[in-house]
């Protein structure tokens, strides 16, 4: 336990994370123990390799992108705060929160933020637009080997055509939101975190 003393979670930190993300105390401690068990180097941060070691992520077609979503722009290490901040997107929206007036800044797990997470998975260059190439890349990852490039290309074209309202051949975030307005994103992009 000696080397870990510095990385033990302090009460104030738990409080801060709680305020920022909305997780409960026990959820935070539980996720912290998961964080430390992933952190093989025991230096309080996770690198991409630590994530790669999870075998189920290895066989997830979007594994790379998901891992990448944890790391802020250009960095290679993520600390516990960052980890929790990303996971907070997947907290279920509770009824008490639904009617809150969004005078304060939007909670991390609001519908918009969930959609933003998904949007960012496509949009690598962070230009707030999903271009045809970016769409193709994701499609290629998700589809088996039997689909030819032309077929995929026409699917991508159709996708953009359906969503694009301002004619710039790419999907902006607002168009993305509009396309998914009928989908129950709150439920789809939520995980029941254990207490």
């Amino acid at each position: 336990m000696g080397s870990r003393a510095s990385t033990l979670l302090r009460e104030e930190e738990i409080e801060e994370i709680k305020k920022e993300t909305g997780f409960s105390h026990s959820q935070i401690t539980r996720l912290y123990s998961r964080f430390t068990s992933l952190d093989k180097g025991e230096n309080g941060t996770l690198s991409r390799e630590d994530f790669q070691r999870i075998p189920e992520l290895a066989i997830n077609p979007l594994g790379d992108r998901i891992i990448n979503a944890f790391f802020p722009e250009g960095e290679d290490q993520v600390n516990f705060r960052g980890f929790m901040r990303t996971l907070a997107h997947f907290r279920p929206i509770e009824d008490s929160e639904k009617n809150k007036n969004t005078s304060t800044s939007e909670p991390l797990n609001s519908r918009t933020n969930k959609l933003l997470f998904a949007f960012r998975l496509y949009d690598l260059d962070r230009d707030d637009k999903i271009s045809r190439d970016e769409l193709l890349q994701v499609l290629r990852m998700m589809v088996g080997v039997n689909i030819s490039d032309e077929q995929l290309g026409s699917i991508a074209d159709r996708t953009i055509q359906e969503a694009d309202t301002n004619g710039d051949s790419s999907i902006s975030f607002n168009e993305f939101i509009k396309v998914l307005e009928k989908v129950d994103v709150e439920q789809k992009m939520s995980i029941r975190f254990l207490h």
Partner: protein, 804 residues
Amino acid sequence: MCGPVLSHRQDLLVLLLLSLCSSGGKCEIQKSESTASASESPFHNEIDQPQAFPDEERASLPVFTMDYPRIQVPFEFTLWVLLASFAKIGFHIYQKITIWIPESCLLIAIGLIVGAIMHSVKEEPPAVLTSNVFFLYMLPLIVLENGYFMPTRPFFENVGTVLWYAVVGTLWNSIGIGLSLFAICQFEVFGVQDINLQENLLFASIISAVDPVAVLAVFDDIDVNEQTHIVIFGEGLFNDAVTVVLYSMFSFVADMSAFESSDVFLGVARFFVVGAGGLLFGLVFGFVAAFTTRFTHNARQIEPLFVFMFSYLAYLAAELFAISSVLAIITCAITMKYYVEENVSQRSCTTIRHVIKMLATISETLIFFFLGVVTITTEHEWNWAYILFTLLFALLWRGIGILVLSQIVNPFRTIQFTFKDQFGLAYGGVRGAICFALVFTLPDSINRKNLFVTASIAIIIFTVFIQGISIRPIIEYINIRRTNKDLDTINVEIHNRVMEHIVCGIEDLCGQWSHYYWKDKFKKFNDRFLRRILLRDSRAESSIVSLYKKLELQTAIDLLDTPVGDLSAAPSIVSLYDERKNSSQPQKNFLTEDVRKMHDILSKNMYKIRERTMAYTNKLNQPDNSRAREILIRRHASIRRSLRAASFREMVSLFLKATHAHRPQTASQTVPLHRVLILHLPACSEFVSGELGRHRQHSSSRPIIPLRRLNTVKESTRAVGQSDSSPEEDVLEERHPRGHPVAAPRKLSSEWDQPPAEKEETVAPPPLPVPPGWVADSQNIRDNGAGDPLLGHLSQGSQESGRS
């Protein structure tokens, strides 16, 4: 399709006739045996008296003799097995039948036909389905297979629920059915008044147990929720303990007139003895088996034997003490599997799996077949009221039981059982051969034994046929999606799938299961103690390495056999660091026809969300992870790249540390450092040193993947050499085999030498069809900044002749 069908029918007829002849022959032989024995006795008498040899008639040398009795038993056994297996083959020719009717039904039906034929010819069926044969020979094989292929992770995640349903559910069912039947018996009009409470309870305990064999046969093709599947599977296996206790308790009590309350306490105590005893026996034998396989590396041919013998021993030992043998063999199989599969060779592993599957299939086929046969040929006593009420109560109590139990257990579960799931659980409670065999072991002192036999056969046939056939349409009906596909836009379909993959990935990342704490603890215990003792080669591996080993090794061997779509032509997965294409396309107009085609393409080809268990053990196939393989291969480039980056950093730090410790001058001392380096490279090197050793024996055609991985190791060593300051470099140069391979890891370094040579050749057509993705990968390496020093060294790098 007519050809094979007709010949199949002919085969079947031939076999039927053969079997009839053989049993007919048996009849005659018995008579001739009796005459033979009769003729022997006078002969014996004659021996006592002085006898003159020349009195014998002179017999001529027989040219053609036949001695049927000698081979009778194995011959008939083989014929029966063949007959049942032919029936099984026949079903699968008619694909359409097996979709609607589970195999078990078909087998019972064929058995009924054969039984009818035998009955009309006044033949006795072979005494195969006696309780002894069933319990000692047929049941252990099936249960071994179930235990060995049990998906352990979902099982342990749901172990509480499984035990809850198994123990409490069976108790509930037995007592409920028993009491209700007893109530029915009170009515004079039904004519069953002589059955007392104990006998009713005994009968109820027999028929309340869900049978794993039948359940799995029914659930095979049905796409139920995994949770439901694992719960019902586990329940079928584990309610054996309860059944054993109840059966022995009630049969003991049935002889007595009064029912004491102390008996109930004794019963509970016995239950714990039975359950815990079974687990203990299983664990002990499992560990012994695992330990034994640690030493079998010089006797590879008999490795599978240990698995079978120890499991069977566990079963028999448990039977000896009348504790739950089913639990024992399952525990033994689960315990043993993990360690044994690490210790034994790849071939033994495959052999074990295939033999287990084969034996289990034979056993199960025979069981259902004989169920049909014996149905016709036993004595029956039919009582409408009793039997119908039995059916009714069985269904009723199971339904209520599942409902109540689910209500109680749901709050404790992360994924709760919806009513749909509960219906699946209740309706899937199929009774099978265990119940049948148990009812035959009822003591004859029970005067209504025939009625019980008939009733249990009735309930088995009802559940297997009616529930088995109807469960599939009902489940499909319940699961019907309301969304109209045409209203969904392509966008929605794609984005939905993306979101599902995301959520699945995040859940895996969080290690979402509540048992994670215990799993972690067990893993630590496992690594520290158990692996050291039980495994021959117990270096701790990261789980991704073991995943690689399993998937990649199999892939490397299978890649040349199996058509895996056209992986080589597949465009490589574009990952984060690749360059983007610039293209602009003019606006296209899409017809609805095109859109519908797109929906089709997407729904058929998008990777499904990873199920939390690997595909269920279809009775006929090994667990199927070809899809995971495909994804893994395609992502290989990006995974490896990032791993290499890590290994690069770690290598540097390690190298710096190591060089201060060692200053080896001789080649022989480079060995430990090489080993040190190897051992600390994550993933790649473990594979190299561990697997290549084995791999050399196998394939004459070089597997593609290990070669590529070797590049990694090679490059890292090189890169390390380059990036360090000159004193280290000198050491590296010195250490580096200029003319000769390093002494001890001769195998390894000669392997290592090949990739650089091959790298030169990648521009020219390589001997094996290297998928473009791979080639692109190496080109990328050259393009990266870190590539140049590598490239520089690589061209000098190849020592001797490329291929040794």
